[in-house]
């Protein structure tokens, strides 16, 4: 590994240059995060008139709360399914776009489009399509014999939020895959073709391994996305229902904290979430940065 080193004449200068960034991090991350940690040890009424220190009570309550464990379970299913669906479909689309001869830019632009749609709008869009009363897709599904009702059917609701969340993320993944594909030297593929390897064989022996760093990177990014950035999608489609079937962790923090005004419990949940992000980030830096060769 190569180290770049810049020498500053004054000792204070580097710190001065870092100060703005540190201040931003301090004010917008460390301070609120610290408050959340502190809050998670307290029990407080909504107005903050009566506060008592309860130690780890909020945490033990979480771990014994079947709703919270259910939410954890839901989050795992939702994250993995969304990540898998968006990664696989993005890969298929990228492979297709990579081979397009005429107007590849047009296809690329169209495929990237959904990324520009705000998550809340995406949610509303899918909500409309699948609305049991007025949705066109639920109407079509009913004609095919499936009585679609995500207001009551937990599986339907899960499918809906996975579709909406994955659709949003396909564009992002697509861009990375397309870049990854274009970085694979044509000579490798040609050589394999000359040796008699078919397209499928070429994909699995050459393209897939060379794309694996991209895929792994996307997996982590997508899991982080599904766990934190899908709030708006959930809020606009199912609001965590029916019967908490799509109540993912980040949505539960909001519901319990802002709607239910259980600040201590909600803070404990955010601290747990913060722990998960830290673990995911460590994973990303430890393994990805090491394996990826640019």
């Amino acid at each position: 590994m190569q180290h770049k080193r810049t020498t500053f004449r004054h000792r204070g200068l580097p710190y001065l240059l870092l100060a703005p960034q540190l201040a931003v991090t301090g004010v917008f991350f460390l301070w609120p995060a610290g408050q959340a940690v502190w809050q998670s040890f307290l029990r407080e009424d909504a107005f903050g008139l009566k506060t008592s220190f309860v130690g780890l009570a909020n945490y033990t309550k979480l771990l014994h709360d079947p709703q919270y464990l259910g939410s954890l379970h839901v989050t795992v299913i939702f994250s993995l399914a969304t990540a898998a669906l968006s990664i696989v479909s993005a890969l298929v689309l990228a492979l297709a776009a990579d081979r397009v001869l005429r107007g590849p830019r047009v296809y690329t632009a169209l495929l990237v489009w959904p990324y520009a749609v705000a998550p809340a709008i995406a949610g509303v869009l899918w909500w409309f399509l699948f609305n049991p009363t007025i949705g066109i897709l639920s109407y079509a599904l009913r004609a095919l014999g499936h009585d679609w009702n995500h207001l009551l059917d937990k599986t339907d609701a899960m499918v809906l939020v996975i579709l909406a969340a994955a659709w949003k993320q396909v564009s992002y993944n697509f861009l990375f895959f397309l870049a990854g594909l274009q970085a694979i030297p044509a000579s490798l593929r040609e050589a394999a073709a000359i040796d008699g390897a078919g397209p499928v064989k070429r994909f699995f022996t050459i393209v897939a391994p060379l794309l694996s760093p991209t895929t792994f990177f996307l997996l982590v990014v997508n899991v982080v996305y599904t766990m934190f950035d899908t709030f708006a999608v959930i809020d606009a489609t199912t609001e965590g229902g029916p019967a908490q079937a799509t109540n993912i962790l980040v949505y539960k923090v909001y519901r319990d904290g802002f709607i239910g005004l259980d600040l201590g419990g909600s803070a404990a949940q955010s601290v747990v979430l913060m722990g998960i992000v830290i673990v995911l980030t460590v994973v990303q830096f430890r393994f990805i940065e090491r394996k990826v060769t640019y």
Binding site: F47, L151, D153, Q244, G260, L261, D262
Partner: protein, 439 residues
């Protein structure tokens, strides 16, 4: 030079402005759309009626958002003088004794002209403490009633002038409607929690919880798993399977109204304040009105229904002149003219007997069939301990629990008894949390 001059002119103007300023009070509310416009009209009327005080209304989003915003603002010391809080937030507001200024006390302290007896007991009962003191100022209260499609009733060979009075009649009517092909479904409803559990209980004089439905103290427990409630939820689940009942979603039940407007469901239960919306949307058919159905084998039914909606809470921590302004404004707000106008425009219940009488005098109820149904229903009998309302801590979350358990019931995961037992267990846990936090 010029700049300097204009600066000092500005400064002077600003100074003069504060010196002569009227006392300005902030009112955070959750009335969007036409209701919001009407609210601003009322405020403008007040501001024009005198020159000492000025009320500034601010729309803060949904009920939950408005309440959360006010609480967050209170914690930061930036609270409004008056905030509109929905009925399920009552328990939370009441328990916050250092944060709210009870209306009866405010009016007394400010020496305002205020007669608590002039208010409709069925409305203010929800917002009084056990000694009968009014804690918040009712603003928009409503109660669920039954709407039905007269054209569909006629098509099915039913008497279009007769709304089903009991659940047995409703079931028979629905079956006839579906068999005749007049409509696909019998009925739908908004607010499962409010209409099909809380009001169902009050309407049949069944307790919702111990301690007079929570009015008596924070140590109350839910009792909604009684035989009447279980039987009703069993029926709802069965009716849903048979297609007689269609579910409109959790919370307010956003999908319920379209089912009724599209003539898919012949009967619809929701707030009396939905009346204007129902009329506006029922373009191709005539709407009929009725009281909520009841089970005629339950003794004491029908009792009286309970209200929903919101009231105005006054927050602590302001100067005395602010409270003078609030008292004066509340006096204006509860005057018969303003109340009758708001009631007739919105479909919310009038909060005073005088406003009710004035509306009668003006011939409003003769000209607008159905507008009096809700009023008749809440005043049908003197409220009992079971039917004056409910007051539990963390009730916003308990409402969610009710929705969740109802969804589990409809999806066939659990039966009615299990669902309601679970509402009670989970609800009680939330009430205990609230009790612990507010001790």
């Amino acid at each position: 030079m010029l700049r300097k001059l204009s600066c000092s002119v500005l400064a002077f103007a600003a100074f003069a402005g504060t010196a002569q300023a009227q006392t300005e009070i902030q009112w955070w509310h959750a009335m969007g759309g036409e209701l919001g416009a009407k609210l601003e009209e009322i405020v403008a009327g007040y501001n024009a009626s005198q020159s000492d005080y000025k009320v500034v209304p601010t729309y803060k989003g949904t009920y939950a958002e408005t309440m959360t915003a006010a609480i967050a603002a209170f914690r930061a010391g930036e609270q409004p003088d008056v905030v509109q809080v929905f009925e399920v937030g009552t328990g939370t507001m009441m328990a916050a004794q250092g944060a709210v200024y009870p209306v009866y006390k405010l009016m007394e302290d400010m020496g305002a002209d205020f007669d608590p007896k002039g208010f409709l007991p069925a409305v203010v009962g929800y917002y009084t403490d056990t000694e009968g003191n009014m804690l918040s100022m009712p603003f928009n209260s409503s109660t669920p009633i039954l709407y039905y499609n007269k054209d569909v009733f006629a098509k099915a060979g039913l008497d279009p002038e007769k709304a089903p009075a009991t659940w047995a009649e409703l079931e028979a009517d629905a079956k006839q409607i579906m068999a005749s092909g007049a409509a696909k479904c019998g009925f739908t409803t908004g607010w499962i929690s409010w209409v099909q559990l809380e009001n169902l209980s009050a309407w049949h004089n069944q307790p919702i919880g111990t301690e007079e439905n929570g009015f008596g103290g924070l140590d109350a427990e839910l009792t909604v798993n009684g035989p009447v409630q279980v039987k009703h939820w069993e029926n709802l689940a069965r009716w849903q399977k048979e297609g007689i009942f269609q579910y409109g979603g959790p919370g307010g039940g956003a999908d319920a109204a379209p089912k009724f407007y599209a003539q898919e469901c012949a009967i619809y239960m929701n707030s009396s304040a939905s009346r204007a919306g129902v009329i506006a949307n029922a373009k191709d058919f005539t709407v009929g009105y009725g009281m909520l159905p009841y089970y005629d084998d339950v003794e004491g039914a029908p009792q009286n229904s309970i209200i929903g909606g919101a009231t105005l809470w006054v927050l602590q921590g302001k100067e005395n002149d602010h409270y003078k302004a609030v008292a004066d404004f509340f006096h204006y707000l509860s005057s018969p003219e303003v109340q009758a106008d708001w009631h007739q425009f919105s479909g919310y219940l009038p909060i005073t007997q005088a406003a009710y009488d004035l509306s009668k005098e003006q011939g409003y109820y003769d000209a607008n069939p159905g507008a009096e149904t809700g009023l008749k229903q809440i005043t049908l009998n003197a409220p009992t301990a079971n039917s004056k309302g409910l007051r539990f801590g963390n009730y916003v979350q308990i409402r969610d629990v009710i929705d969740e358990e109802f969804q589990r019931l409809l999806s066939g995961e659990v039966d009615a008894k299990t669902a309601l037992d679970s509402v009670v267990t989970r609800g009680n846990a939330l009430i205990r949390d609230f009790e612990a936090a507010n001790k």
